[in-house]
């Protein structure tokens, strides 16, 4: 997983067909001690993309070939969770609204002040971090849930649904003691500190749908 390149370190990926702008933005971001990498087209970005890339994307709207907005839509579609900052030299409001609605972190109108870009990047990074954290948490809970036996999973389902040990025993035709045993195993394997903790984990893996009854 750990490759020699810097892709797993937080990086600002810049996509703009104007090399001078790429250079300027890189210079600015580097002066703020940030890692940068730039591409001259959406196609070039896709060719070089790998899932371990972390950080954020600074996109120009007007790109040759696939436009910035299309690239953004594609990223959303392929569930690439890189936060996107959009820039344009044409400050038209409908486009701003569309971009923000589509989930862009920020919309910068060229030329912009250094603070605007740095703030947007900071915002994007913290968003990405939060996303990553949530993602890894989910991954670890799922990994823990994988270790449960079929019976333990049943017990966990009923416990988190709010049933008492006695009720569970009746339902599964087990003795209360056995249920208690399984329940202890579940709590240990899932590394749950309390029943509330377990309920939260269960909700993360199986998001409640509708009324949740």
């Amino acid at each position: 997983m750990k490759s020699a390149d810097s892709s797993s370190v937080e990086t600002v990926f810049i996509v703009d067909d104007d090399a001078a702008i790429c250079a300027g933005i890189c210079d600015l971001l580097e002066s703020a001690d940030l890692r940068t990498r730039h591409f001259s087209s959406a196609e070039e970005f896709f060719e070089n993309w790998n899932p371990s890339m972390s950080g954020c994307l600074v996109l120009d709207v007007r790109l040759p070939g696939i436009s910035g907005m299309e690239l953004h839509a594609k990223l959303m579609e392929s569930r690439i969770s890189l936060p996107v900052i959009i820039m344009t030299a044409h400050g038209d409001m409908p486009m701003v609204r569309k971009a923000l609605k589509a989930g862009a972190v920020e919309f910068l109108i060229k030329p912009f002040q250094d603070e605007e870009l740095l703030q947007a990047v900071g915002q994007a990074f913290s968003l990405e971090r939060a996303q990553r954290r949530a993602e890894s948490l989910l991954n670890s809970i799922q990994a823990r849930a994988e270790t449960l036996t079929e019976r333990e999973r049943q017990v966990m389902g009923l416990v988190t649904a709010g049933l008492t040990n006695k009720e569970i025993a009746e339902k599964l035709f087990l003795s209360v003691v056995t249920v208690k045993l399984h329940r202890g195993q579940v709590m240990r394997k899932m590394q749950a500190e309390s029943l509330a903790d377990l309920v939260k984990m269960s909700e993360r893996i199986n998001p409640p749908q509708g009324s949740g009854a």
Partner: protein, 496 residues
């Protein structure tokens, strides 16, 4: 055959009757009595013609010779009676000729009269028939005029309406009387009536076709557009006998055309502002790119210098980039300027009056729609100018459109006057004058500035472009206003 027997029979009958009456009478009258035979001969000649007459003469002579001239009952004649017989025969022949001639004359007269009578009868019948036919064809014609879904009329030589079809009456909701004389013009829209009257009266005098478009009031008081067309009908001697007219309802076409025109106008205005807006956007984009690079490098440079310790090498590199990008931005500005000033540099020999006349033709429809009349006052013998004719025409068009728009709200006559004149020895002046309300001092001071406009949809570039075109031609442009309205003038140098 008949011709041979009939005269003989008639003569025989008459002579026999005379003979039978003479027998008893000769015993009453002492003198030889032959007068009845004369009567018989006369009757035969009258009724049977000359041949019957002669037959009667021969028969009578024989009868007299046989029965009454001695020797009796013999056809021989005694010597002393020969002169009597001869006298009788001569008298009889004379009677025959006279009687038959009279009869023939009478017959001719009668035949002639009969022929005449029959001819008269035939003619009368023919006349009656053709009269019926005429009535029928007139009825059919009238039905046809009623069936045509258009309004039709007929007028006498003075233009007085004699007949109009029901459609016309239904439409105006009145009688034919309301179409006569002056009242005809009252059913026309007030804006169209003067032009209509002018055209119609001219046509009546000249005797030519008349065709115009006008709004005619309906019974409900609404106006609809009609195409009114009238043609004179000339009698054989070439004099105008009647006028025939038709009113064709063109409201639909008119409104479609109107909508089309306004759509076209919207479109051209839209495309004009669009192209300008697009150009501005593309210039903005062109400039924003180097400015963005410039600004980011400048910000980076500051940050490199502020760092602890300052990264002078990176700051210097950023400063190099700043210089580079500033040059690039300056190049963009230079390119934009050359785009406006140098491209399509055209100077060709052109006649300013020709441009004005072309323009007036171009503006005609627009002016009619806006109710503006265009007047041209063109100086004669204008020297040719070395100009870009398209650009100068653009200036004229711009000024003329402005003037027409300025008169949109005024009450009086809307007159747009375009004139040309020679100014001294080396200048030609053109002027576009309107009767609009004029402009304020503030407008006067700013009207040629870019993006200055008094119109809600204006770009504020029209007069600016005009001025830059005129100045590119080494000319001058200015506006003056008087009580009559506003006048835009420009002067151009005559090339030497």
């Amino acid at each position: 055959m008949e011709y041979g027997i009939k005269p003989g029979a008639i003569a025989g009958c008459f002579v026999l009757v005379a003979l039978l009456w003479t027998f008893p009478l000769q015993h009453v009258i002492a003198y030889p009595f032959v007068f009845l035979f004369f009567a018989a001969i006369m009757g035969s000649a009258w009724f049977g013609g000359v041949i019957a007459g002669f037959v009667a003469v021969v028969l009578s002579s024989l009868m007299i010779t046989y029965f009454f001239i001695p020797p009796l009952f013999s056809i021989t004649v005694a010597k002393e009676s020969q002169s009597f017989l001869a006298a009788f025969i001569l008298s009889a022949i004379a009677i025959t000729i006279v009687s038959s001639t009279r009869k023939r004359a009478e017959n001719i007269v009668r035949t002639a009269r009969d022929q005449l009578e029959s001819k008269v009868q035939k003619r009368t019948a023919e006349l009656q028939r053709s009269n019926l036919e005429i009535q029928e064809s007139e009825r059919q014609l009238r039905m046809l005029t009623e069936a045509i879904p258009q309004q039709i009329w007929r007028a006498d030589t003075s233009g007085r309406i004699e007949y109009c079809n029901q459609h016309l009456l239904d439409y105006i909701g009145g009688s034919a009387d309301s179409l006569r004389g002056e009242s005809f013009f009252t059913i026309l829209h007030a804006e169209d009536a003067p032009l209509f009257r002018q055209g119609w009266e001219a046509a009546l005098v000249a005797g030519g076709r008349f065709e115009t478009e006008a709004r005619v009031r309906s019974a409900e008081g609404r106006y609809r557009w009609f195409l009114v067309r009238s043609i004179p009908h000339r009698s054989e001697d070439g004099q105008i006998a009647r006028w025939y007219g038709i009113h064709i309802d063109i409201e639909e076409q008119h409104s479609i055309q109107q909508r089309l025109l306004s759509a076209h106008e919207d479109l051209s205005r839209f495309s004009r502002t669009m192209s300008l807006a697009e150009m501005a956007a593309s210039i903005a984009h062109e400039l924003n790119q180097p400015l963005t690079a410039l600004l980011t490098h400048a910000a980076a440079c500051r940050r490199w210098l502020r760092a602890e310790p300052a990264n002078v090498a990176r700051a210097e590199a950023a400063a190099d980039k700043i210089v580079q990008e500033t040059t690039r931005a300056a190049n963009v500005v230079g390119r934009v300027r050359s785009l406006f000033s140098k491209t399509d540099y055209v100077r060709e020999s052109a006649d300013l009056n020709g441009l004005v006349v072309d323009l007036a033709r171009l503006l005609r429809d627009d002016a009619i729609r806006r109710g503006v009349s265009i007047r041209l006052r063109l100086a004669e013998g204008l020297p040719k100018l070395e100009i870009d004719p398209v650009q100068i025409q653009q200036v004229l068009l711009n000024l003329a459109l402005n003037s027409m728009e300025a008169m949109a709200e005024i009450d009086g006559p809307k007159v747009l006057e375009i004139s040309t004149k020679i100014n001294g020895s080396n200048e030609i002046a053109a002027s576009v004058k309107d009767r609009g309300p004029g402009f304020s001092e503030r407008v006067k001071n700013n009207m040629f500035d870019p993006f200055f406009t008094t119109k809600p949809e204006g770009t504020g570039m029209g007069l600016t472009i005009c001025r830059s075109i005129i100045e590119a031609h080494d000319g001058r442009i200015w506006a003056t206003q008087s009580e009559q309205g506003t006048e835009f003038q420009f002067v151009l140098q005559v090339s030497k």
